[in-house]
Symmetry: none
Subunit: 293 residues, 3 copies
């Protein structure tokens, strides 16, 4: 991430304007730099090291004392000058770190920055969904606890529902979104609903563990253009498989997440949305006639 180690101390000094002695002092005292060494023991610095020295200089110019300047230079994020940007990989890593520390305000800050820089679609498909997958994997490997998973999903759920505010309003086609009976994981469903909303749909959202009767009753009243039922695990499908055809006759029914794969396997005729919520939303949305005035 920092580039090859190519400068000796003299060159770093020339480029930064900091004397070699001082560079060594900063290394020794604050660990500002950690150069690799040549075979003979000479320090070798990378372009990233040069950046770090310059950052340090900026803080010094700003009136900070060396020790504090160095601390800040070492953890760039703290200093709140972070330009929002999206490197999905590192954002996910940061998000993971904040979840590990149960640091909600940091997590919110990361999401704030992200949303300031980039569309909701991209946040969902490049950060949120991959992050959830990774968290699941880490949990499976025993590296993350149930507590972490709970924490992460409550933070993300709150944030996404914040974005969702008002999503039932308007003139677009209506999608009724719910999780299958027994299913507690809502995030996939919410992400899908948000992506539809970004495409002008109106959303009626029913959350986790929704009985089919509820769905049917609501649908009778709302006459949605699409009913989306979601579950992570495919096992939620079997218990209600015999009721889906009736539902599907009357409305257009789609299954999302693990349920989609199970439905495919079971030969159900419903629309399957097994993939990334944003992509599937795009696909579904493209297949619906557009509104006219």
């Amino acid at each position: 991430v920092v580039g090859p180690s190519v400068f000796r101390i003299g060159e770093l000094s020339r480029r930064s304007g900091v004397s070699p002695e001082l560079l060594r002092a900063w290394e020794r005292r604050y660990g500002l730099l950690d150069p690799t060494r040549s075979k003979g023991g000479l320090r070798l610095y990378s372009p990233g090291d040069l950046d770090r020295v310059r950052t340090m200089q900026r803080y010094l110019d700003g009136g900070m004392a060396a020790a504090e300047a160095a601390t800040l230079a070492l953890r760039e994020e703290q200093l709140e000058r972070d330009v929002p940007r999206l490197d999905p990989e590192s954002v996910r890593r940061e998000l993971a770190a904040s979840v590990d520390a149960f640091d909600e305000s940091r997590a919110q800050g990361i999401l704030d920055n992200l949303l300031a820089a980039v569309t909701v679609d991209t946040v969902l498909s490049e950060v949120v969904m991959p992050f959830l997958r990774e968290l699941g994997d880490r949990w499976a490997r025993g590296e993350a606890s149930v507590a972490h998973e709970h924490f992460a999903s409550s933070v993300l759920r709150g944030r996404m529902l914040g974005l969702a505010r008002g999503w039932g309003r308007g003139v677009g086609p209506i999608a009724l979104v719910a999780c299958l009976p027994g299913e507690q994981h809502e995030l996939g469903a919410i992400a899908f609903a948000l992506a539809l909303r970004a495409r002008g749909w109106r959303i009626a959202y029913f959350g986790a563990d929704t009985p089919l009767d509820t769905v049917e009753q609501a649908a009778t009243q709302l006459e949605p253009s699409l009913i989306v039922l979601s579950s992570v695990s495919g096992e939620r499908v079997r218990p209600i498989a015999d009721r889906l055809p009736a539902l599907n006759r009357r409305w257009r029914v789609a299954l999302g997440g693990g349920a989609a794969r199970a439905a495919d396997a079971a030969g159900l005729e419903v629309l399957a949305l097994p993939g990334d919520p944003v992509e599937e939303a795009e696909r579904v949305s493209a297949s619906v006639p557009s509104a006219t005035a």
Copy 2:
């Protein structure tokens, strides 16, 4: 959120103009500051501490005794932290205070809190639009400067255009939104467009000072369900009044803001939207047939 502890007492003194001895006295006597310490025992202050000192100075300048000033400075911070107030009145007051101080970051924070709690519609009609009106009034009374108006509208515009991201996507009816030729104030137009977006419309936005030829050309390409032309002042209407009927024959044309009142007066047959952007958007949207699947 006070930030990292990075200033030694000398720097805090330089930035606040309060001597180090006095800063130490305030700490000892009133507990105004509670700096962390370096390994060697030096005081380390955060940017938040600097704010507190400045608040203290404000009270002192106001003629208050040091003890009282300190108590108030401490209490004020307490209040800011505890009360995530949603009372529109006080939110507008806070927003005004942050604009008076040209404090972008505080203004953003207020808007963050607001948007986390409340729909975009509400933010627009309860806070942003009234705030702009008040700012205009204060300006007319000589209490606010052009500088404040410029600053405020930059911040709000950025924020609202942030919310706008992706508003061209989807399946809803298309609204072409622009400001009349010569009109530089975009905020009303953006607010209206956002409110339409919240109702599922697709937006094509062309910004300030848009020539009618431009509008016509874009409309030919996009075939919008509605063309919205906005201006604060009614004077922008006369120069183009003779061209509106032709436009209105081919598409549905609406005028917003001051332009609406002027158009009414001039007996133009276009749709007039003189009121609050959100209400007008609701009205317009209700009158357009909804999309069906």
Copy 3:
């Protein structure tokens, strides 16, 4: 023009300007060259070897020591790689296509991808600014309409102001950024401000068409380390030329864009920033040593 495809050490020396002894030393010490041999044992070099020697020389001139220069010359490809493959040309073409179609959502998608791949600096100087220039050219040639220009600048402005969120926060030096009276094009000013932000500055931004009184008043309150006034056209400078010296005495004033060239021509003593916003920001930032509060 094409020389022999192999040459002996004397010829390589003449062409590269490196003494034969040194060439042999580089071969022995760093394995920089691996010449074939003539029947009699003479070294035979290829044109590729000459390239490698020249590369080595480039690095040496760049201040690197011989061992490092050689290592880099040997894995040239490795180094090129760390510029993430981004073809600015084609991105700009795509952007142009989406603007031609007034397709906001596609434009946002392109920008999302871009921000995921490279820094804000790069987006500005490789894509946004060149794109705007091209759009201007296409407009001059009658290939793009005012509608397209309006549309594009709305989208880009929203995006850039999104990235701007929080740019007033922090501890860096303050830059007051505004467009000259009469100037409506803000994108250059915003780009410059973003580039400064990425270098640790705090930004107070006042937008298009800002009266000098406004600037002065805000400056009195903020005491910025730099005042940046921008305009595309040089004509905005004359009307206010007589007021600049007074401003410049009290604060450090810079003119950006077309205004910079006009100011130079008029013999004004202010700092001129005629070039690419990112480069100029780098230059300014290096030359303004300290923030004072």
